[in-house]
């Protein structure tokens, strides 16, 4: 029989330490003893919503924005969220000392370069949440970090001040031109990659943005690491709902779980144009007409 070794994941009841607004978003701080020490940039947590007798059974997944391993609370974490459903509405109404069931850290974090290379971090909306921990880790390795933040409008940018502090350069785009350059992150990204001679692009945000960023990175010969957003039920790899088509080392496409095989994938491995489908050459794909 195999014996348990050191834990990699924690299930704990967190207590709300704070909930504040940041533009159109909410930043929730929870006690999470034991979790900070295990967390790497790109990890996420799956939160139970609605309290102990909730009718909302599915956990909500959020990138970990920051962790604090010391302090009177013996470990805490922050997540950033937008209200777009019953679960996040419940989270947005939490008060100090309320309890939230936390499972984490989950998923595969961002892969970090061994050499002090030039890195560009690209985020859409609150996709920037995990990027600050990542920037710290990269800078600790001597990497140059440049940041591109994009959103529909200024109030949907997250972490602009922090980004200014950590980035060699910060480029901002908004769809409506209310902040930075009017347009999309991918409009400015080629110039940033050129200027910084970037080796790696890290991206987190909506799927269409990731698809576009991965293509721009590939065109510039840069590796890309993309943290995907797929709806999940469990976050721990047992429900099989959060899959997307990804090409493996063997060249074979499989439907991989974004919760345990991701959420961070190599941008050149995800079949972005076919996300939401099962490409016909996927391992075990239906012979014709689909599994009805």
């Amino acid at each position: 029989m195999t014996a348990p070794s050191q834990p990699r994941v924690v299930q704990t009841t967190g207590e709300v330490l704070g909930l504040r607004r940041a533009g159109d978003y909410h930043v929730l701080t929870l006690t999470a003893p034991g979790l900070p020490e295990l967390t790497r940039p790109g990890h996420f947590v799956a939160l139970g919503v609605g309290g102990p007798h909730t009718s909302m059974l599915l956990r909500r997944a959020f990138s970990i924005h920051s962790v604090q391993s010391r302090g009177v609370y013996g470990g805490s974490l922050e997540i950033v969220f937008a209200t777009h459903g019953k679960g996040t509405e419940w989270l947005s109404r939490l008060h100090r000392h309320d309890q939230v069931d936390i499972v984490g850290p989950l998923g595969r974090p961002f892969a970090l370069p061994r050499e002090p290379v030039s890195c560009v971090l690209v985020a859409g909306g609150y996709g920037s949440a995990p990027m600050f921990m990542l920037a710290d880790a990269l800078r600790a390795r001597g990497c140059r970090v440049d940041v591109v933040l994009g959103a529909a409008t200024e109030s949907k940018l997250f972490g602009v001040l922090d980004a200014k502090r950590i980035a060699a350069t910060l480029t901002i785009t908004t769809d409506d031109g209310s902040a930075g350059e009017k347009g999309r992150v991918t409009d400015v990204l080629p110039g940033v990659l050129e200027r910084t001679d970037a080796d790696v692009v890290y991206a987190c945000g909506p799927m269409p943005m990731l698809r576009a960023v991965a293509k721009v990175a590939a065109a510039h010969g840069a590796y890309s690491q993309c943290a995907v957003e797929e709806s999940m039920a469990c976050g721990i790899g047992i429900c099989m709902t959060c899959v997307l088509p990804v090409v493996g080392d063997d060249g074979v496409t499989r439907m991989l779980r974004s919760c345990v095989d991701g959420p961070v994938f190599r941008g050149d491995r995800v079949r972005w144009d076919e996300v939401g489908t099962v490409p016909p050459d996927t391992l075990g794909a239906p012979v014709s007409g689909g599994h009805s």
Binding site: A3, R8, V9, Q11, P33, P52, L57, R59, G276, H291
Partner: protein, 359 residues
């Protein structure tokens, strides 16, 4: 295997000491130290959950239904949350039986966990070949035959909805399975008379019944104005379906009190599990709720022990089918043991009841 640190604060259902109740159950010949199992499709093959609780401590891991060949499953979206439940349309994604045996079952065996292997097929031949492949695999606790998954490729082949085809599948699996390994048929609730299907599969050789599978359901996205799932319809599971499941178990147990039942459908805590046991289940599976609480199977097992102890049951098996007793013989406050003047086995006194427990 690494294990999660579970650090829950005090909560109403917290259980610290497990009371001295004999939780051993005999599920169609498989003797299990705990009557709480995982549910097919809600635990993968146990490895992920072993991070959250010791999977050797529960009755068995019921693995996700495996088919003969690797299978990609369906496109996304594959799930939608519903009130106290969820709809899923995964499409039986899986690595195929050979890879499953080599990796997943080998891992469960090395881990020392009991495994109930769920199999699914699109034809009698596929079920036959699956059973034949498993025949030579050591240490399988039981085989669960998924004849009722509404997601299989050809809608014309929902075996579970027709007594004759359900029986044909079960007979093929039973014929090709080693004699000592129980074969459980998993029944669909989407039938007019579940007792009729239950009788057919038992006559065909099923050693026990797993019930219930998901109910076919549908959600329409009011923003896109389209079905929410890529597969259009999906299987409804979770506490929302629990009363349906309890009813099915009760009806089948009333009709065939000697047929062992593995009950499942929305079990969230020990009292939910107890409902199934009282209705006639010898063991239960915790399914969808595991998505919500990954430590649920072991927690439910402990809570069930507490619930039994609180009601004066010293052995789980004494509670199986207890709800079928004649109302006049219902225990007074204080539990069955005291209600029967200290009789340790409350069902012994009820041997003349038509719908007694299995004892």
């Amino acid at each position: 295997m690494t294990r999660a640190v579970i650090t829950h604060g005090p909560r109403p259902d917290a259980v610290s000491a497990v009371p001295d109740v004999d939780m051993t159950t005999n599920l169609a010949g498989a003797v299990l130290p705990s009557p709480v199992l995982t549910a097919s499709g809600c635990a993968a093959a146990g490895r992920e959950l072993d991070q959250f609780f010791d999977i050797t401590q529960i009755g068995a891991v019921v693995t996700k239904s495996i088919m003969l060949n690797p299978r990609s499953g369906r496109a996304t979206p594959r799930m939608a949350e519903t009130p106290s439940g969820m709809l899923n349309s995964i499409g039986l994604q899986g690595p195929g039986i050979d890879d499953f045996v080599d990796r997943d079952l080998a891992w469960l065996r090395a881990r020392g966990a009991r495994s109930v292997v769920s199999i699914a097929g699109g034809s009698i031949d596929e079920y036959t070949r699956l059973a034949s492949k498993l025949r030579h695999v050591p240490d399988i606790t039981a085989i669960e035959v998924n004849i009722s998954c509404p997601n299989v490729e050809d809608r014309g082949l929902v075996f579970a909805c027709h007594a004759a085809s359900a029986a044909e599948v079960v007979a093929a699996v039973r014929r090709n399975t080693a004699p000592g390994i129980p074969v459980l048929a998993k029944l669909s609730p989407d039938v007019t008379d579940i007792v009729e299907i239950a009788r057919a599969v038992v006559d065909a050789g099923a050693d026990g019944l797993s019930m219930i599978n998901t109910l076919l359901g549908m959600v329409i996205d009011t923003d896109t104005l389209r079905p929410a799932l890529a597969g259009v319809t999906g299987g409804l599971s979770g506490p929302a379906i629990r009363p349906v499941a309890v009813r099915c178990v009760y009806q089948v147990h009333a009709a065939m009190p000697d047929v062992p039942i593995l009950g499942m459908g929305g079990i969230r805590n020990g009292l939910d599990a107890l409902e199934f046991v009282l209705a006639g289940a010898s063991a239960v599976s915790v399914g969808t709720v595991t998505f919500h609480d990954p430590s649920a199977p072991l927690r439910v097992s402990r809570e069930l022990a507490v619930a039994l102890a609180e009601r004066g049951f010293e052995r789980l098996e004494d509670a199986v089918g207890y709800a079928h007793r004649h109302p006049d013989l219902a225990p007074v406050a204080g539990g069955p043991a005291r209600g029967h003047g200290g009789d340790a086995d409350p069902l012994v006194a009820d041997a003349d009841l038509t719908a007694g427990g299995e004892g």
